[in-house]
Symmetry: C2
Subunit: 680 residues, 2 copies
């Protein structure tokens, strides 16, 4: 059951697809207070045992209790446990205690502060700064029921093409087709599977969206054709800002269509990002989305089938006004003579130029024809860009799914694209964070996701990349991505590349199965990755597990995320088959009983756990998702009762899938062997 | 066996107390290369199973493999896993593999880079930038043997007074005796044990060392007497820099004695820290140490018995030259027009003013009468300050131990004082880091240590403070400390203060025992906290354990360091008695067998593990270390064979302790009960 309660005058967000009537009585469960600044404050005592799920893209554990989060889409580069917000705002929180099972969704495009047992361990205090929002209460019989009801409220998750489940190599810095060709060849000659290469901003002319360097990419279509012949796709980046430059068509047409966000005086708001001074499309307008979505057309016509949208919080490096203010502040400090406090202010003055609240208050959107200051709808920007892109794709290619993933997002964007987990670091703690973020994102509808494997910032070590890849084997987006000026991070750069290749080989052996589990989850409005609590809600141990995830219908994952670890502990909520993978061909199988286990896992080894009477099918593998044989499988499972493994198999691109008709049913027959070859 | 190898012309460091002759043959084990810049590079292949212990104060795990560390004493405020160096440089590394047991100590006061399986997982590459150093190879039969041999090489660890094992409350901001009195009263009226209050820089006049605010502390001696009557000590801070101010005695006498570090032109080097522009005592000179050590005398005469030395890396906020350079760089950027790169430089320009290598190259020490540029001896500075202070204490109070702990340190400083673990944050990851740093510090001689419980920077939550306190129960320094502008962090500020009080009560019940174990470790040149590998070197599971520590002769600790955890896993390398503490009076006792266990530990519960046939004595407890009855104990243990518990009991202040004569021997008799009351 979902009930809606309206506070103030909410702005449209495009998050919800069901048009519910607001309840007339007051909001139950919560104490409601109104701040003098117009804010609405909801508070709720927490049960000592209460676990809180949700908030999508956020730091810390699966259980969100004990921190103060903010919904405020942020381009931040230091994802420590202190960080209140990341790139997306996903305002769903599920309260789960012996006394209560309650989903709370705040449909609010502005800043929200979530004090979840921070000030007091036994109280949640949630503040909508604007006070204009729809509050949805979701009550179902189970955690999964809440997840499903929320998805039905907000719409089916985005479906990527099947090739997007292949391994993708990416790096800020690839600047020519020759460089890309080298990267591809270094993979191919070592038989490291590969399905795509991302192009970061360096493929563009002066970082201008929808351009590509004519010398470096003299014939993009020919190059994409060459890649496709080798079963590979290029995935170029597109940023939010449009460079201010007369004669540059996206700027000229945007200007002609009056597509950009405005300052109070009606002039275009300008701030610098990669290309320098840019204007920012008002993605909240339908006409602007149409104009922007059509800008992808030249790239689509060159054969590109996948994109990533970046810088769409929107990130703002600085505005002219911000620079002037900063220098004025510095001049004042300088004139007054520096002391220890003012030297710190000097740093703050200049570091504060980026993504400043001053700038976010300097520009306006048109909502229903009326100007709305950006900060009141800030969290919608990235979702608007995603929507513009997805709508453009649908116009261009109505029958074929294209790959799209974004940095910034909001609930609703999950219908139009995936997201990556943002600009992480080559930190072991970020490997754990990536794991812990998966079920929260899934709960909020973002099924197609993954982190930058190996870490974006900082320098990776080979053991860390290997452990990242072991998580990546299971995430829908399996992308190795790193920043300019960091250590080269392609698998072939490392002495243990064969170990890494063998790890990627497992992904390809599992790819038909993982794709199938993804599609089932998406089409049934379910989660691919779930906290154990969702499946074993009466198991007091299981509900607190923070570093293991249920995967699809049959499996559990428990990656190693500690440096120099020789293994890890794992809690089995029921009897399972433990697969210790070394490669697609080399693995150990060991039935384990419900309970606690220490599992030895050397650097090149990683586990998968399969429920009893369920099985995981390994295909023979291959070097591209297009080269996989999905008719012959080795079934790994401990089968004591007859059953069925249903495998979703479509063409991998159809935009209108029918789940039931695309399921192949493979009988599971009792067997004393744990491994058995079958044809599907 | 210890062998010494000399490279170049090492500068004196005061680290080593044995005068070994350098070997004439070349350094075994390592490949030695010489860089064109004069550096010396030692490299060594690593065994796949090799574990690396040591490096004292550093981030990451007990096993230091897989990161690139730097020996470079740094005032840094963001102890992420990326951080190469913290406040102290402790250049001892122990290689431990099936093939090798080898201690490597580099007696080198300059920068060292330790690539420990970073570039390549199977190689260590260690670079002394100056190339002037003594290399010591330590070969013994066991890990503990190496620890002991190294201590004998570098001297016995500092002995604090017994009261320093009490709970100490600290906060940047306590600015008057009235404020301190309130803090004390809030503890006393709730019966939260307390032995001392630290005074941070706010007690001084304008942050000037050796002054105190006359209005806020009108009669310091009277106030300290009042506190002592309540069994409490004040512990004021002293910083490294001396404010440039004529008429201020420490400056005038330092100037008269020509005590300050000089620039190349012979003038005093000046840089700003808390008091503004300061000079920096040349602690490498004996006469300067004598002058500085005597500056503590007015505070000692007021009855102060403990100090903490801070800012002695030395931290430098900025120099006049650095500010001028920064503004010149900013002017140049401004004139050229900003772009995205230059706006980043602007931040770097101003944040780079603090602790800049340019400044560290701007001043000189006198070593044996000759000027030596600071950066070549940088890592000695804090140790020199500690030595100056300790020598001053010994002159003032030759028969009585005083409390001293420092932020910056170097091997050798462990003879003169303790250290705290530096300016950590209220982060869960820092609770784990604090645990993991303990054995590394102990190995390097720093036994009297502890972290800022609750975290210095950022805002603590009550669950985090409680879990921090649970670690602090066992650390010699048990101090709650926090920064200005963070959330109030005294126990009584929180709704669960009774739980926290009960946790501290366990410290006081254990205090006679913990003090005894500390003294035994110090006087026997052993470690109080050890990695499990030191006691169970043949146990393949034990050698990799990163989050449990052996404590003294009888125990093992395994704190909870994850938010919202309902317990934790623990590996028992032998049968042990599990004590689940809730308070000094309220605990569960459960014998557990060798192996893996999941232990339930609710928020107010924490474990201690006692070896079979050993026992831990709980005294009746009390609210100050001076009020404890150390003659009646409840022995907790699983005794199946006769044995002895030896308890070190002295007056808690004698400077020349005799271990054997101060040991009380309590017989352990076979007993079906796990708890038994005895008199000592």
């Amino acid at each position: 059951m979902i009930r809606k309660y309206t506070f103030g005058a909410p702005l449209p967000t495009d998050a919800v697809i069901q048009n519910l009537l607001a309840e007339k009585d007051s909001l139950p469960y919560f104490t409601v207070r109104y701040g003098e600044d117009g804010s609405v404050i909801l508070s709720l005592p927490l049960h000592p045992e209460e676990v809180l799920f949700g908030l999508g893209q956020a730091v810390r554990g699966i259980d969100k209790r004990g921190h103060r989060y903010e919904s405020w889409n942020s381009d931040v580069f230091n994802h420590t446990e202190e960080r209140p917000s990341l790139y997306g705002s996903h305002n769903l929180l599920v309260f789960f205690s012996p006394d209560r099972l309650l989903g709370l969704y705040l449909d609010d495009p502005g800043k929200i502060i979530w004090d979840l047992g921070w000030e007091k361990h036994d109280e949640a205090v949630i503040t909508s700064l604007s006070g204009n929002l729809d509050v949805y209460l979701i009550e179902e019989e189970s955690l999964t029921g809440i997840a499903r009801a929320f998805r039905q409220l907000t719409g089916r998750s985005y479906l990527p093409p099947r090739w997007a489940f292949g391994y993708i190599q990416s790096r800020w810095g690839y600047a020519s087709e020759e460089e890309v060709r080298t990267v591809v060849n270094e993979h191919r000659k070592r038989h490291i599977p590969l399905d795509g290469v991302c192009l970061d901003i360096d493929y563009m002319v002066d970082f201008k969206n929808f351009t590509w360097k004519p010398d470096a990419f003299p014939d993009l279509k020919r190059f994409q054709d060459e890649m496709k012949a080798d079963h590979l796709r290029l995935v170029p980046i597109i940023d939010a800002g449009i460079k201010v430059e007369e004669g540059y068509a996206p700027y000229d047409t945007g200007k002609a269509g009056d597509c950009f966000c405005k300052k109070e005086d009606g002039s275009d708001f300008v701030a610098a990002v990669w290309p320098g001074r840019c204007c920012f499309p008002d993605f909240l307008r339908e006409d602007v989305r149409r104009w922007f979505g059509d800008l992808y057309r030249p790239l689509l016509e060159a054969g590109i089938e996948g994109f990533w949208n970046d810088m769409n919080e929107p990130a703002l490096f600085y505005s002219d006004e911000g620079v002037a203010d900063a220098f004025a502040a510095a001049d004042k400090i300088r004139a007054g003579g520096v002391d220890y406090e003012t030297t710190w202010w000097l740093k703050d003055v200049f570091s504060g130029m980026a993504n400043s609240m001053d700038d976010y208050r300097r520009f306006y959107h048109l909502v229903d024809g009326k100007p709305v200051r950006h900060d009141l709808v800030h969290n919608l920007y990235g979702a608007g860009m995603t929507r513009a892109t997805a709508e453009g794709f649908r116009r261009f290619s109505p029958d074929k799914r294209l790959l799209l993933f974004s940095r910034s997002s909001f609930i609703g964007a999950h219908r139009n694209g995936g997201i990556w987990q943002g600009d992480n670091f080559s930190w072991w703690s970020h490997l754990k964070m990536a794991l812990q973020m998966l079920p929260s994102l899934n709960l909020c509808g973002f099924l197609f996701t993954g982190c930058d494997l190996g870490g974006f910032g900082c320098n990776v070590t080979e053991d860390l990349l290997e452990r990242f890849l072991q998580l990546g084997v299971f995430t829908p987006l399996m992308r190795n991505h790193s920043a300019l000026h960091t250590r080269d991070q392609e698998i072939y750069r490392f002495s243990i590349w064969e170990t890494m290749r063998d790890t990627v080989s497992v992904r390809y052996a599992l790819l038909p199965y993982l794709y199938s589990e993804f599609m089932k989850a998406a089409l049934r409005d379910e989660m691919l990755f779930r906290p154990l609590a969702f499946d074993y809600s009466a198991d007091q141990r299981a509900i607190h597990i923070q570093d293991q995830l249920m995967l699809g219908e049959d499996c559990m994952i428990a990656p190693v995320y500690e440096q120099n670890a020789a293994g890890r502990y794992v809690y089995l909520p029921e009897d399972m088959l433990f697969i210790r993978f070394r490669s697609a061909q080399d693995y150990d199988l060991q039935p384990l009983e419900k309970g606690d286990h220490w599992i030895d896992l050397a650097l090149g080894e990683f586990p998968l756990f399969v429920k009893k009477n369920r099985a995981v099918p390994l295909c023979p593998g291959g070097e591209s998702s297009e080269l996989l044989d999905d008719t012959t499988f080795t079934l790994l499972g401990q089968i004591e009762q007859e059953g069925t493994l249903s495998l979703y198999r479509d063409d991998g691109t159809t935009t209108d899938p029918d789940l039931e008709s695309s399921l192949t049913r493979i009988p599971l027959v009792p067997d004393k062997f744990l491994s058995r070859i079958v044809n599907a």
